[in-house]
Structures are given as structure tokens and as C-alpha cells.
Symmetry: C2
Subunit: 252 residues, 2 copies
DNA sequence: CGTAACTTTGATTAGTATCAAAAATGGTGG
DNA sequence: CCACCATTTTTGATACTAATCAAAGTTACG
């Protein structure tokens, strides 16, 4: 089942965040993997599942979330083309959250063991994958701020800006013009609000001329004003990284 | 400035989460470092600072947080004995958040470069440090849920349980009996509430016989009932990890 | 074309914020 | 050891954001 070219979105994303040698690139492309197509709404894995594989998004959108005793749900992250949904599975044994397809989805499923071994053999690949999880951690921190200290309107605007920038970076759309991968109920679950209130806020943003909508597609009239409304500063999405030589020097 | 024994809290925490060979242990203990004492309230670093060092807590408590345009603050994490505050600095260049001492604090400051080189030379150490950041990521996800989908009382109870379990794991106190390292205003900044409301909630928890307080010390009357009130399941604090052999096998 | 999922609307309620000020605590220097 | 000051905690009154409940439209899909 070796179809290296299908892992290109992963390599592209990794290369965007850290330099990647040809050898590393080839090693990643040669990882054993299987392509799986998943319909919208289906679970990729559930809390408590054993972590035997890593999933990489090839097309479509997925989210990770946790369910609470009362049945409410908190979406923790949205994943798109090139994103690893659970790269941490190379090291962890159990899933502490669920993953679900938001749209029709195509993922590459890579055995966690293969990634673990590749990291052991190639410190530079390990570093690159680590950087990838650090960027996700940075996004997670920003979501924490969003939920903790921003009001509904600012929260929604912030999320809409983030989705725009990330889709643009993944080559899927323009930052100010894209198809919303989330329903209003899912937007609510991502922002800690109710679907009804999300609807009000979207209506309000439209009334103020910040966005227009038709069908699921979203249009920002003025990116700058929108970013202002969402207190959005994209720095956290593209952190620069140290370039420590892979070959040890002084420590030995 | 080689005083290896002072990094023991870090090694103890790492060893608690993943097996650590004697050689790895010694390599970590031999990292160059400087001990710094910091008074309560002082900043360790600020958003935008260059990430040249990694800080490890030896005693006392610290937090990381972000400040918003309106002056409000969201605490992102609480760090205690043995915790790395910013291990990710081995790979990242810029801080995207602030770190501040919550109490009188003692930290070991390790050059980021030294950690980066150690990780390159010893994949098993890299793996261990990565696991550490993955656990912090797991805590961050739980905080996201806390802020997004739990009401004030549940949020506070959850945080109090987490602080108990982590202090117990660090050998600082019993899970149900410890000195709160946060003021009520800081609790508010960690839970996305106001100090006034935190006070109400604490009063309520006390009225229901769940906790008693005198001075800053907190006493849980019934751990189980308290964990229930906070929807607290400690799994996320102690995830198990895969044990992939450090020596490459099949991939080469 | 029919049905299920999603969006929109309106009325009411609940939870938490805001503002203001008093009481308690903790640390400091005399 | 006490008096003083700054910080923290507590109390109360009021305002507002967002939740809840219910139902009608609308869209997307098979």
C-alpha cells in the first residue's frame, strides 16, 4: 500500500513550519499508510480507544471534542488538509478525546509504531513533528483565552479569522472568503455558546457589514475590521522555531 | 555552576511519566543550569520575548497567562515543583504568552540550546520531554472544556481537584488538603470568572460542606463528592505512553 | 419530492458581570 | 509587639449577557 504522493499534504505542512531535508521528506513519504474515506459525522476514534494509529487529513475537515455528563460537547480543535489529528499517538497509549468528521473526509492512517520508530531514527523528523504539536498547543492556548475572556461576538469573530488564515495557509481558500466547515451548532460547541446565540451573533456581524453569507459560504467585507472585532493576531499560528543542528556538537 | 542534584525535581517528574535510563537521568542532571529565586508577582518572561532558556520549577508556584486589550487576563496553566514552564523553548523562538511567579519561586534556568542538543543526541530524552509537553497539552484541553462547557461552580471544583492531585503527585500535599497557591482573583483569571463570583462559589461549596478554609489552606471534606461536583476524572493528568524501543528496528 | 438537518425568530429566565464599599488578612517598620 | 498599609476577601444591589424553550422557516440530501 505504498502511495507516497498521498502524504504530500503532511510534508507540505511540516515543511511550512520547519526546514525539512530531502532525506527526511522521503522518509516521511515512505511511511506505511492507508487511505480511508469517512462520511460527515462519523467518528474516527473515541475517548478511551487505544492509540494505535495516527490520522492525517488529506481533504475535508475533522474536529476533536470531549463530551460531558449532561450530553453537552466542547470542540477542542478543527483539523484540515495536512493536519495531524493525533500525532501524539506515536507516544501515548489512550485517547482522551473523540475525533469526528465535520465534512466528507479523507485521511491517511499511519501506524503509530512506524512514526515512533521514524522519530527514533531521525531526530530531525522528531523535531519537525514536535514543532507541529507545539503549534497545535499554541492554538489550544488561544482557544482557552477565547473561551475564558472574550464575549460571544469577539469569540466568533476570532474563530472565523482563524479558520480563514488556516485555510489560506493550507491552500484551500482566501482568508476572507471560504466555505464554513462548521454548522452553527458546531460553531457553538467550539466557542462554548448555544446555537441560538451563535445565530444572533452572525446576524449581528452581518448587520454591521463585517460579513455576508449565502449557503454555507462566508465572505468577510473587510478583513482588517473583522480581525479587530475578533482581537485576532495570527502570530500564534505561525511561530518561528529555533534551528538547532541535528548533529550534536558540544553536549557529547 | 554544576549542581546536578538541584534538577532532581525535573527528573522525578519525567521518571513518573516515562521510564528513564540511568544514562538519560545523568545526562539531564548534567545539563548546565542556574538557580534563580523570584519573588511573588514578578514576571519570568513576557509575550514577545526571545526564547533562549527553559525554566523548571524547583519550589513554589508559577503561572503562564495572556493579557487582552481591555486589560483582562487569562491564566493558561499553573506550574509547580518539577514542571517545565517552557520546555518548548528548545524548539520555538518567541514566547506567545507571559509567565509570572504566583508565590515565592525557585526555578532552574537551562539554556534552550543545551536542551535542544541533548534531545538531538538522545532520542529517548527527546521522547521523555515530548511526553511531558503532551501531558501539559492534555491539561490544556481539559481547561478548554472547563471554560467552554462547565458552570462556575463546576469549574472551580474541577480546578481545585486538579491542583490537589497534581500537588499530591509532586509530593507537596494531600489531594484533599493543601495550601491554595492562587488568590481568588487568580482563581478567577484561571476559570474565566470574576473574583466576586469566585468568592460566591467558594462560599457555596463551603455551605454545602464540600470544603472548609482557614487562611489560604483548603480542606476537602469528601474528595469523592468534590470530584463529582467538578466532573473531575484524573485520567488526563496521568496518560500512559507507548514504549517504542529507542533503537530503530524495521524502519531503516 | 419528501424528509431530516439546519437556521431563524421570539419570549422568558438564569447565571454571571459590574460597581461600590466594608471587613479581614498579611506583611512592614517603628 | 504593635500600628499601619496594601492586598485580599466579603457583602450587597443592580445590570446585562447568553441560556432556555418552543416553533416556524429554510436548506440539503436521497
Amino acid at each position: 500500500l505504498l502511495q507516497p504522493s498521498l502524504l504530500l499534504p503532511l510534508v507540505a505542512k511540516l515543511a511550512a513550519h520547519a526546514p525539512l531535508s530531502d532525506a527526511d521528506r522521503d522518509a516521511i513519504l515512505s511511511l506505511p499508510h492507508e487511505i480511508v474515506e469517512i462520511e460527515a459525522g462519523r467518528y474516527l476514534f473515541r475517548e478511551g480507544d487505544r492509540a494505535t494509529n495516527c490520522n492525517v487529513v488529506l481533504s475535508g475537515f475533522a474536529c476533536t471534542h470531549k463530551l460531558l455528563p449532561d450530553g453537552s460537547r466542547q470542540i477542542l480543535a478543527v483539523h484540515m488538509k495536512g493536519d495531524g489529528i493525533d500525532l501524539q499517538n506515536a507516544l501515548m497509549i489512550l485517547m482522551d478525546h473523540n475525533a469526528q468528521a465535520l465534512t466528507a473526509l479523507e485521511v491517511a492512517v499511519i501506524p503509530a509504531q512506524a512514526i515512533g520508530e521514524l522519530m527514533n531514527g531521525r531526530p530531525s523528523v522528531a523535531r519537525t513533528l514536535w514543532i507541529e504539536t507545539l503549534i497545535h498547543a499554541s492554538i489550544q492556548r488561544e482557544w482557552t483565552v477565547n473561551l475564558g475572556r472574550r464575549d460571544a461576538r469577539t469569540r466568533i469573530a476570532h474563530l472565523l479569522c482563524e479558520l480563514g488564515i488556516r485555510q489560506e495557509a493550507a491552500g484551500l481558500a482566501d482568508r476572507d472568503r471560504y466555505v464554513l466547515p462548521l454548522t452553527q451548532e458546531q460553531l457553538a460547541d467550539a466557542t462554548g455558546l448555544t446555537a441560538v446565540h451563535v445565530n444572533c451573533v452572525l446576524k449581528g456581524l452581518a448587520a454591521d457589514g463585517l460579513i455576508t453569507r449565502e449557503r454555507r459560504s462566508l465572505n468577510m467585507q473587510d478583513w482588517h475590521r473583522m480581525a479587530d472585532s475578533g482581537q485576532f493576531a495570527p502570530d500564534y499560528l505561525l511561530p518561528a522555531q529555533n534551528d538547532i543542528p541535528t548533529q550534536p556538537s558540544s553536549w557529547a
